[in-house]
Symmetry: C2
Subunit: 417 residues, 2 copies
């Protein structure tokens, strides 16, 4: 007997037939004697519809009302799944955030989870009752509905698993696990049986869509064993676990890519302390994240070129912000390029093995791919390239690091956002 | 300055354009200095969709989960209307049932309102804040979402008006008031400026769809002045008020009809005390309401024929129930007829004026319409007729009681269910 949290995403509960199917998946765990809590997303498309209505009325909506509107999607799925479970003879009930309560802070539309009261759920585990909890939402200190931001249901599930001290948190989605890279680009991509939290975190933040970065970080902090698996196929997925549970550390576990990048270069900025802080600070004030940053010293030694990346959808705003502080930054010119992509290799083994960067740069050079910006962490190397070369680069790196399977890759998944 | 509750039905908030329009209607009241609380239905069609999903999964759904699912529709509208009001510069916020709380009993899917905490709403009236409350729902003693049953939003609005001691409860709908009869049948039907609670109650229970019977009864009990008016036209509707506010009492104020009736006759039942109670009791146990009842003594004096009506949709179940207790009832034969309709004339003036029945029966007889069953109350006479004659009967009675307008009836409404 284990205590598990199961999370089902929007495509897994997209219609009544799929909700029935999900009930069957939950029932299997119950029949195996497990204590089960389920976290559900809204039916695919519902959250978008609700958000679109709110935005149509007013782009400057009150986030508290927006949350009240969009949180209703998961409420519907939770009730429907409870009915579907009961229909299969499984004891089940839905728990809305205010009923537990599932507490968050007051930052509406991007709330952080503060604590979950699980006593009521745990008391009913003794009766074999399954708890069905709407994901993506909570109740704030203002006694109002909050939401956690997009993809928040993964985070809800991990937080619930932590609060319940669950043995495992199963994230059911429309892919059957974590792959060495996107199987749509590399048909010979392999499914990983296990991956460490650190690697998963880097992959998620580098563009792999299978898990939200935030949920992985939370799982890592609370040591919640995560499993990513398909709700449509009955077989093991990928376990995301503590590093010490990974028996054989690959030098490179996966190749991630993010096609939605944009590059900004500030030409001839005065080369003085604090200039990078000023740039990043101005953008942060506008809630724009800067990712890769590189600084080149110019010939005369008094000015420098600063290059950095932002999300493509934020390029226009970023340019506006920087133009607004042009007097302070004193750059000669601002160049931007929306046609760039980031490709990363990730692996725990990099720490102990040298030559990963060399292998990577060589593989790209052999295909004539020019590297524009490089950024590294302990277990990751990322490069910025012309977006036209994205697929070519991913395939080259996948082969160069020996990740291709023997066969041509069965069970390719598609990513659920 | 007045304190008013405004209720908007599903067709009034059917899409974003209409929600914006409703915000404008609310704003007019706010600009006039009124304290305003708004009760909203779900966007037209949403509740049906949500209910259909629940039923598709399991016709024997858990009513607590069903309520959790279907109540989400009004939650969405409440949030959206709050956003629309803010967009017009009106201070507004939504209040979900659990936030007030809006308390009901534990009878899920047909809960009764027990009490509404309005202190928070009233405190904010001082800041000019409009409270937007989802109709049709509450929170039960089990700390779960309850719903009031179909049309419950009218009842929510009246209960809120009573709790707030509001000066008026405006029910905005897709008709512009209460008519002497259905303008689709009688183009010369007149809009009533005022109608008494008692008359409205009889009309509602006799098939006029403009207000839920339950909400009228509640308004009468708490002396809440109701107004029925159109959300699409800016002009007074019909006031439903205490009898003593009706200056001129019409003998007949309106002609109502209910086309969805069915008649059952139990032939040759033993004529002994308690037989009617047994029939009605058996049906009540199955939650089937019996309406008109008539008993004819048979020739030999030892048996009798019992005739009564039920809703047409319940005819099949009613026949099953009665067949199940055939041994006790000892009837010789059960005859049923689904092709009957009830036509009623309603008016306070009937109390003091004789001859209404004579006028009614004469008008029907003149058109060759046979009366099958008659039932009367202090201010109402109903007859059961062959449903083929419904429209003919309504028109005949409308003319016979002098209700036709001079012109041919402008502003015909259609009824919102």
């Amino acid at each position: 007997m284990a205590r598990i949290v199961q999370k089902f995403g929007g495509t897994s509960v997209a219609d009544i037939a799929r909700i029935r199917h999900v009930a069957g998946v939950v029932k299997r765990a119950v029949d195996a004697g497990d204590e089960v809590a389920v976290v559900v997303s809204a039916m695919a498309g519902q959250t978008n519809q609700l958000a679109a209505w709110a935005r149509e009325i007013s782009p400057l909506f009150d986030a508290r009302e927006y949350d009240t509107v969009v949180a209703s999607g998961e409420q519907v799925t939770a009730g429907l799944l409870a009915i579907a479970l009961q229909d299969l003879g499984v004891n089940a009930r839905s728990w809305l955030a205010w009923q537990l309560p599932f507490r968050t802070d007051e930052m509406h539309s991007r709330a952080r989870i503060e604590g979950i009261e699980t006593a009521a759920i745990e008391a009913r585990f003794a009766d074999g009752q399954v708890a069905v909890v709407p994901g993506f939402q909570g109740v704030g200190p203002d006694h109002r509905v909050t939401t956690l931001g997009r993809g928040g249901s993964d985070t809800s599930a991990v937080a619930l698993a932590a609060a319940l001290r669950a043995d495992r948190c199963d994230i059911f989605t429309d892919v059957d696990g974590v792959y060495t890279t996107d199987p749509r680009i590399v048909p010979r991509a392999r499914k990983l049986a296990r991956v460490s939290f650190e690697e998963m975190l880097e992959m998620a933040s580098q563009g792999a869509k299978v898990l939200q970065t935030r949920s992985v970080a939370l799982a890592m902090r609370h040591r919640v064993r995560l499993q990513v698996l398909s709700s449509f196929e009955d077989r093991p997925g990928t376990l995301v676990v503590d590093e010490d549970e990974i028996v054989e550390q690959h030098v490179v576990s996966g190749v991630a890519y993010s096609p939605d990048e944009a590059k900004i270069t500030l030409v001839s900025v005065p080369d003085r302390p604090g200039i990078a802080a000023l740039i990043v600070g101005s953008l942060a004030d506008a809630a724009i994240n800067v990712d890769m940053i590189v600084q080149n010293v110019s010939e005369d030694g008094t000015t420098t070129d600063m290059t950095f990346t932002v999300g493509r959808s934020e390029l226009e705003r970023a340019v506006d912000v920087l133009t607004g502080v042009r007097d302070e930054l004193a750059f000669r010119e601002l160049r931007s390029d929306a046609n760039v992509a980031k490709v990363s290799v990730v692996g725990l083994g990099m720490r102990s093995q040298h030559g990963v960067a060399k292998t990577m740069f060589r593989a790209l050079a052999d295909r004539g791919i020019n590297i524009q910006v490089i950024s590294t962490s302990e277990i990751k190397i990322s490069v910025l390239i012309d977006s036209e070369y994205t697929e070519l680069a991913v395939r080259a790196l996948h082969t160069a690091f020996g990740l291709d399977t023997e066969d041509d890759g069965e069970n390719k998944g598609s990513s659920e956002t």
